[in-house]
Amino acid sequence: MELAKSAYLTREEHAPAQPRLLAHPTGKTGLWGWLITVDHKRIGFLYGFFALFFFLVGGFEALLIRTQLMVPNNDLLTAQQYNTLFTMHGTTMIFLAVMPLSSAFFNFIMPLQIGARDVAFPRLNAFSLWTFVAGAIILNIGWFLPQATHGAPDGGWFGYAPLTSKTFIPKHSIDYWVMGLQLLGVASIAASLNFIVTIINMRAPGMTMMRLPVFTWMTLITSFLIILSFPAITIALVELMMDRNFGTGFFEVSLGGMPILWQHLFWVFGHPEVYILILPAMGIISEILPTFSRKPLFGYPIVVFSGAAIGFLGFAVWSHHMFTTGMGTVATAAFALATMAIAVPTGVKIFNWIGTLWGGHLQMRTPMMFALGFVWMFMIGGFSGVMHAAAPADAQQQDSYFVIAHFHYVLIGGSLFALLAGIHYWFPLMFGRKVSEFWGKLSFWVIFVGFNVTFFPMHFLGLNGMPRRTFTYDPNLGWNFPNLLATIGSYILGLGVLIYFIVMAYTYFRGQRVKRDIWDGRTLEWSLPNPPPEYNFRVIPTVHARDAWWYEKHHREEIARENAEHAREEDAHGGIHMPFGSIWPFVTSLGILIGAIGFSAFAPIPGPGIGPKLGISLVGGAVMLIGIYFWSLEGNEGYHLHLDKDGNVIEDDAKAHH
């Protein structure tokens, strides 16, 4: 039976055999289709969509910051507005832009790289997505509420106690921050558990751990960092929330609390967090450089191992953010040395990337430009990191613009460049179209120049004593020119970003169509047609070598024989298993959102008044429980697809399977 050409089936055609109270929604189109989707590629796309949106928002906030600082004693913004802006800029960029953008690639690319048809728990994946969206909403909700009593978060992105206590910021702004981050934590942990199980358990036959593509390895390590570091901030936030709403004394000096504890708990999370931001980027770079050098990654095992070493060491250095808190000599020395040690595994990666280029045939395509830009910029950012690690020098640099320069070099020159490279690199796979080389490279150069003009002068500003988080400065301190320069740079950077986005949007609709595997790729995702079908692999591939697809391309007959045999086997076992879509993850997240709004927006300002708070929270809790209940009743059922040899769906049966 010849059905539709695509694998996108309608609900009627696949009504389940058994009558049921709540039939599985199987719609594949329209808004409903997006809400119920459990397809890792669509979820990845949604992550990317929201992340890029919030990147623009965060960038817009940055431009406002820079405009305020363009000239001394500017009064474009009030102190209050400025403080809100940098808090939200930092929080947005880290939690709502870079992390979810990495997550977009984890979702979209990782299962394809290991030869899987989906992640291990597709509905949990949808739940992570929607909970992330809920967290983003809570974080930003304050913009739209009365500023005097609500307002967006304004305690700085690391929200040091006791400034964030009710005594000093009685508004709800901090409650939104607490709840927002809490939800983002839930989303990230759930997603990461899923990725860990997927990578460890869902690999195609022959895909041993030491054959995993480096990007997948970095996904795994990042996921571990997330599940092991987020609990620390979750607990810190719980304690803060208790202090704010239930009068506990965790950070309350009058009861004997020690606010320094917040800093420790925050940075126990915070430092691994920065590696959560950079490791996926390093993974992307480790895919792009070999592809465009047309040779395997230099020293694969040691690159993988150094990634793990960075992740592990990352848990032992948190106090380098606290060198100025008077920890005493021994602790300071220990953390300084541990921090420096991280330069070694990081250096290994840089060396191996250069080794990869060495002797290759470098094709200077746009992704490659961004990747090379990454290596340069990240190196500079890393060096200023080592300067911070030298604790006595850091006593002068901490909380100055030198830190701002350091981390924007690693975050933009590092993480962001790699993510932009990744978008260019995988765009043809995701959408079947390719960005024009000219416009791609142009956006690269404008971003590259703008970035350096913005942030290089900040090193000098910091060394010349300009503290961060200051909405104004006096004209007599020698900071005028570098600030002006930085602001001009940020406009250039903004222009570059704008070009980048316009080009992407244009390409999405009108760009040049390309055939599969346009870069002559090395890893399995390139073996798929673009865009990949819902079931990813017609036949689960058998992996024979590290660069699996490269090997397949050079052993075509052997692979064809193998695949035909596997296809027969699979058909005999019922065909391709596909999970049903489900609305319950969305409902669960919706319940969480409602509950969190109740909990943050109506937290008692001082006194008890818990009426509306309790009410709304309970409604949210009930919705959440309903979601979970029906979700668990659904069981992991799905339907089967059978394909003909051209990949058309020839038959499918909705027989529930386990």
């Binding site: 620390a232 020690m258 005493g328 602790a331």
Partner: protein, 112 residues
């Protein structure tokens, strides 16, 4: 997805299945006894360090029995053990480091 026949065979020479019930009950008794010892020992006027060490060791024994038997790490693939111990060791290490940091003289809170 058929279970390979050797797996089925392997299952049968696993004698632990037969006596699992007894094992569990015995371990539960052991754990109860250890708990009893713990409660008693804190009241015995030994040197402080002896009591602390004993308590830590006894708790660790209970802990290990539960994870290796009740949670059958003993019979599962070692990977599960590794996975859990990554978290356990990091959590323990972090807790230890925090206690050291706060124990250092430089971080004593202000005397009132």
């Amino acid at each position: 997805m058929s279970a390979p026949s050797h797996a089925v065979a392997a299952r049968h020479d696993d004698s632990h299945d037969v006596s699992k019930f007894q094992i569990y009950v015995q371990i539960a008794m052991l754990l109860a006894v250890i708990t009893g010892i713990e409660i008693v020992i804190v009241y015995i006027p030994f040197a402080k360090w002896i009591v602390v060490t004993t308590l830590v060791v006894l708790s660790a024994v209970k802990f290990l029995y539960v994870i290796f038997y009740f949670m059958h790490l003993r019979w599962d693939k070692p990977f599960c053990t590794i996975l859990f111990f990554i978290g356990l060791v990091l959590a323990g290490g972090t807790a230890w480091a925090l206690l050291m940091l706060f124990g250092a003289e430089a971080s004593l809170p202000l005397a009132k």
